[in-house]
Subunit: 210 residues, 2 copies
DNA sequence: GGGCCTAACTTACCATGAGTAAGTTAGATG
DNA sequence: CATCTAACTTACTCATGGTAAGTTAGGCCC
């Protein structure tokens, strides 16, 4: 009858963490819709139901807000990728691990278009903020490289070469994702096959020659 | 003795085309140095030795100026690439044409770091301006695809697949170029070999299976 | 060489939106 | 129920993108 917290009318005040999360979600949407430039802090504040200075208190600046959004989006992407690797199992063939990772990427993009549009906004950031973002991006490549390196056949390949391969893969995937924007007939599966077909034999040759 | 035009003291007024070119050069520098956000129109104007409204008259807006810079930079890049293809000759082996194009890209980046940093700013552009930029980017891929398609062995490959390959190549190159920023020991030649090694066998398999 | 006409350029301004200082109040805690 | 803090607001500033309305250099024709 009398629940301790009837959330009928929304609480006006929220604990900081919760509010921050909410702001991030809204900001991600608005940035993706309008682009960074065209988005105003008051747009975001209004849609959250809060005023500007609160956002400034929590995120420091407009760039800080975008930065937080990107970190979050990248995090989601990394989680999705790792989940798919876990699902396929450690002892699977390398090509299947590889394919699963690539596929996870394209599926993620399909389901989180906002996050992806956001990630493409990275270039906006000034030289000071870039390192943070670049380090997140690096993570993606590093994770890919690590996964490749963990495979039995590739353990003898020098790590810096692995890193190079990982960068190629990540770059190819991102570009193809953009390309799919203007070629809607290309499915996630098609895109995956395309990337795998292009890059796999290069990787495979490392397997055999070592 | 009395040269017709002693350029001792710089001409105050310049024909529009010349001034535009000068502004583009300066803007490219400033954008690359400070990033789009941090660059103010007055920074650019001042360094040109001119006032804001002139730039607005010639380029319409800050975004218009960036846009013009990017178009110019992309154009330079495309020219460099095509020049390298011309140098290698039409009848060369496909792998040599391919390698030459990739190499031209990395060499260009080395010699025009500004232009490259600029190109990475593309994401800044709002939805309205993007199509123009995206079309330029598309050109790069289209040119790559066309070159691949012109090769004897690949003429039977469907054009949309070629386009996909081209996108993969372009994406890989751009990403590796960024990567080289934090790994200065990787030379242009190394980068070229990396990309070629990764992507070539995928292309080659299309050659043999057709 | 002198008047005129246009395109190159400037001065002086507005409007918007990022960022902030100084409060105000909800609501948890004792 | 008093108090105290963290959540939040009001009311500003200031930089900068953008523009309206001039001003002048200098080519050109007589």
């Amino acid at each position: 009858m009398s629940p301790t917290k009837p959330p009928a009318q929304p609480r006006r005040r929220m604990p900081r963490a919760e509010r921050e999360a909410q702001i991030l979600v809204v900001a991600e949407q608005v940035f993706a819709e309008r682009g960074y430039q065209a988005t105003t802090m008051e747009d975001v504040a209004e849609r959250v139901g809060v005023t500007k200075p609160l956002i400034y208190e929590y995120f420091g600046s407009k760039e800080g807000l975008l930065s937080a959004c990107i970190v979050s989006a990248r995090g989601q992407l990394r989680d999705a990728t790792e989940r798919s690797w876990a699902a396929v199992g450690d002892d699977a063939e390398l090509i299947d691990i590889f394919r699963a990772g690539v596929r996870a990427f394209f599926d993620f993009i399909d389901q989180h278009r906002n996050a992806f549009l956001l990630i493409q906004q990275e270039g906006v950031m000034a030289a000071q903020t870039s390192p943070l973002i670049e380090s997140i991006r690096e993570q993606q490549s590093a994770a890919t490289a690590a996964t490749l390196g963990a495979a039995p056949g590739l353990s003898s390949v020098p790590p810096e070469v692995l890193e190079g391969y990982a960068e190629v893969i990540v770059g190819a995937c991102e570009r193809i994702a953009v390309w799919r924007g203007r070629r809607p007939d290309v499915t996630a599966a098609d895109a995956t096959e395309l990337v795998v077909a292009t890059v796999w034999s290069g990787l495979a040759s490392q397997l055999t020659t070592s």
